[in-house]
């Protein structure tokens, strides 16, 4: 077990390296650079060169990369070009905000979606099933930027129940912080529920047709027992994989939701650093996101045997 974890972590190093290298090169290959953005339409070549030199951007890209890598090994991710803040604390602070939002949302979505999907499968082709399928599809087809805005207009503006603007950390003031989280969490839950419901329903349908379910029913177990003991354990596998993917994906930032609800999270930071060509911040963010992926996927793989006894971790 420990060996498995260790070997997985070691085998992740090439991924991290590859991500860093790819990001480093790509962002520099895309036209546009931080100096032009800083100087805007007032640009002249002398000022441009002076500032590039000062930021070290006039060095060859491989040299820049090695310097950055050297910094990473010393625990220094550099400083933001736009604001001058050190990158590591900035990323950690933003990640903490995104993580609380995403973990709550994915938790709730799972609790809501898996039972719904299983029930729909159990009553396949009933009106309830059709309702769930249509509902889930409808939710999936609303873009988050629309969903967010509609929630904002209805609960924030029309009813005036929830704050429209701003962010308060729940660690500073739990009550107020929770209020600010309700709408963004709802927007995420509604969106992610759709695909989770459909996945849970599909894998449950698969399992329901297997012989041992018929067998279990024949043994005289109640439907509830069949669903809980036999179906759930076997049907949760694919949903679990998907959950890992969703979690990994969302932890990397939910830029749209963060933008609509003015939450200073990691997603907004990444988008802003791409548009602002803030190289050190982007590199730091993506290195961090890649680490998160590795860890989340590791946890997902470690948990497989819990749900699916057929898989052994080796």
């Amino acid at each position: 077990m420990t060996r498995f974890v260790l070997s997985r972590l070691i085998s992740a190093i090439p991924t991290l390296f590859l991500v860093s290298l790819a990001v480093f090169t790509l962002i520099r290959l895309i036209p546009g650079d931080p100096v032009s953005l800083m100087l805007g339409d007032n640009i002249d070549d002398t000022a441009y060169e002076a500032m590039s030199h000062q930021l070290g951007l006039d060095r060859p890209i491989p040299v820049q990369f090695l310097l950055w890598l050297q910094g990473v090994f010393q625990g220094d991710l550099g400083r933001s070009i736009t604001t001058g803040q050190p990158v590591l604390p900035l990323v950690l602070q933003r990640f903490a905000i995104t993580a609380q939002l995403v973990l709550v949302a994915v938790g709730l979505a799972t609790l809501l979606a898996v039972p719904l999907g299983m029930l729909a499968a159990w009553r396949q082709n009933s009106a309830f099933d059709l309702g769930v399928v249509v509902g889930a599809t409808a939710l999936m087809s609303i873009p988050t930027f629309w969903m967010g805005l509609m929630l904002l207009l209805f609960f924030g503006l029309q009813l005036g129940w929830l704050p429209v603007l701003g962010y308060v950390s729940p660690f500073e003031d739990f009550g107020a912080g929770a209020l600010y989280l309700i709408m963004p969490v709802a927007a995420l839950v509604l969106h992610e529920c759709g695909i989770l419901v459909r996945m849970a329903r599909a894998s449950t349908l698969d399992v329901l047709r297997l012989d041992y379910v018929t067998h279990a029913r024949a043994k005289g177990l109640t439907e509830g027992q069949v669903l809980r003991r036999h179906v759930f354990r076997n049907a949760f596998g694919p949903t679990w994989t998907l959950l890992g993917l969703i979690l990994g994906n969302l932890l990397g930032g939910v830029a749209v939701v963060e933008t609509v609800f003015t939450i200073p999270g990691l997603g907004r930071l990444i988008v802003e650093s791409i548009y602002g060509r803030d190289y050190p911040v982007l590199q730091g963010c993506l290195l961090f996101v890649a680490v998160t992926y590795v860890v989340v996927n590791l946890i997902v793989d470690l948990c497989y045997p819990l749900f699916d006894p057929r898989v052994k971790t080796t």
Partner: protein, 516 residues
């Protein structure tokens, strides 16, 4: 039911707690589209950072409403006969936010520190690359500052007042932390720099000991009295969210709105929509070095194919007015000559196209989605050109990419906006230069370059007027790009906010009061 006001944020509560001793403190909540880059005037800045710098700091002089120069921290100045020595007399009794008096020595230190900052945006204006070089700053006595240039420079005072230079705001040495790094601005303006929560908000507090000058509000100068206790700038990147927040009362002012969003709010009695044109330019640029567009007839055909009044009307949702000249409508230099433009004449286009030898080559119009006006200009021009028989295609680029193409001149046509230019000569010099010297130059006609250089060294007056008139006539003959209109700032505020205005693209928080 819970009221919105109750929930309207610990930020408000915080602002109240910070406000004057327990009395009901008035807060103005303002949208900030993105966080400021730094708090240091003129250094690592963008327009929003400039806006904060202009609220907190003041320079020796400031721009007045008509683009004229007003005294600010200096009550008067004299220029030596040869135009190289500027002697400023400081106003008496002005204090920094930390209570220290403004002395000539501190002004000298502030200027020197700013000019030495590696990321100082305006270095070129003062080190000889884009004009005269400042060779010395002296403080012969407590109220006299002497600045010496290496050559006469008609634009010197205007350069110092520019917003992109932070108005050369004078800041106290306490603005730096003990280790010598910049901490926060300790300036002399009507607002002090309060708490800055990065990515969330910037708080400006009323400076209680500020002594407003007599008279009315005039550009960035004149009577600048803070009437609200706190200005809370809330980072709200999404404009739709900002409008929702305005409707719910969480925001009082949204200072920069797209014209389409403003159009929707104009009819609502709860809000006031204000649009004010500034010296920025809405243009359709053409690359005169391009094989197709190098022909003057071709460029003229493009200009005549565009129904500019219609285009400006739709692109700005009826809020903008066409202006064919780089000299803004409100400028003293906008003489009758500058009212002349190229009229919409689609029937003349075929002959021009034939003269240009055009046979259906496709022109690419670059634009972006960051600024809806650029996108509108591109879409409308494309359709109008198509109708007149000129083939074109739109290429939407992300802003940094379009800017990069602009810098290197690699485009055929580009729907591009220039930011505010405080003086006509700055507008002309933005587009005019030799393409070899500057990739972003559009108009590289030798006579035009000569005229712009002449205007730079000519002081205000009739001679300068004559130069601008000739420049405009030359522009109409050569049509190096299509000048459509001056850009405009559209703001909206709740109707209980009084006397809010933007000027030259900047929000002014002084003189604004709130009566809920």
């Amino acid at each position: 039911m819970i009221s919105t006001q109750r929930l309207a944020l610990p930020l408000l509560a915080l602002a109240c707690a910070l406000g004057a001793g327990g009395a009901v403190a008035e807060t103005l909540n303002v949208q900030l589209a993105s966080d400021i880059r730094s708090s240091r005037p003129g250094v690592n800045r963008d327009a929003l950072s400039d806006n904060v710098a202009l609220s907190v700091g003041e320079g020796l002089v400031a721009f007045g409403e008509g683009g004229n120069i007003l005294p600010m921290l200096a009550e008067s100045w004299t220029v030596s006969e040869d135009g190289t020595v500027y002697t400023f007399t400081l106003r008496e009794g002005r204090t920094f936010h930390n209570g220290a008096e403004v002395t000539a020595e501190l002004v000298k230190q502030s200027w020197e520190a700013t000019m030495a900052a590696p990321e100082f945006n305006c270095a070129g204006f003062f080190d000889g690359t884009r004009g005269a070089r400042v060779t010395g700053i002296e403080a012969p006595d407590a109220r006299t500052v002497v600045i010496t240039l290496d050559q006469p420079e008609a634009m010197f005072l205007k350069n110092t007042a520019q917003s992109q230079c932070g108005g050369m705001a004078i800041t106290h040495p306490d603005s730096f932390a003990a280790d010598g790094t910049w901490d926060h601005p300790v300036g002399t303006g009507p607002f002090t720099f309060g708490e800055w929560r990065r990515g969330q908000s910037v708080v400006l507090e009323k400076y209680a000991d500020y002594q407003p000058l007599d008279g009315g509000i005039d550009g960035f100068g004149g009577h600048k009295e803070a009437l609200v206790d706190t200005v809370n700038l809330v980072v709200t990147p999404d404009r739709a969210t900002a409008i929702a927040a305005l409707r719910s009362g969480d925001l009082d002012v949204v200072p920069f709105l797209s014209t389409s969003e403003a159009a929707e709010l104009t009819a609502d009695p709860d809000f006031e929509v204000k649009s004010s044109p500034h010296g920025g330019m809405i243009t359709l640029l053409m690359q005169t070095a391009d094989p197709v567009l190098s022909s003057t007839e071709m460029r003229m055909a493009v200009a005549k194919a565009l129904d500019i009044p219609q285009l400006v009307e739709v692109a700005t949702d009826g809020l903008g007015t066409p202006n064919a000249s780089l000299v803004p409508e409100g400028s003293v230099y906008h003489s009758a000559v500058h009212d002349e433009g190229i009229a919409y004449a689609p029937d003349e286009v075929p002959a021009l196209l034939e003269a240009a030898g055009y046979d259906g080559q496709e022109l690419v119009i670059q634009t972006n989605r960051r600024n809806p006006i650029n996108e509108n200009v591109a879409v409308l021009s494309q359709a109008m050109l198509q109708m007149a028989g000129i083939n074109s295609r739109i290429e939407v680029l992300e802003w940094a990419t379009q800017l990069d193409r602009f810098r290197s001149g690699s485009f055929q046509m580009s729907a591009f906006n220039y930011s505010n230019r405080a003086d006509p000569v700055l507008a002309y010099s933005a587009v005019t230069a030799s393409k070899e010297d500057r990739g972003s130059a559009i108009w590289d006609d030798p006579r035009a370059i000569e005229l712009v250089a002449e205007a730079t060294s000519t002081p205000d007056g009739e001679a300068r007027q004559a130069i601008f008139d000739e420049l405009h006539q030359l522009y109409l003959q050569q049509m190096p790009f299509v000048m459509l209109a001056n850009n405009l700032t559209v703001s909206v505020n709740a109707s209980y906010v009084q006397d809010y205005s933007t000027w030259n693209g900047f929000a002014r928080f002084w003189g604004v009061s709130v009566d809920r």
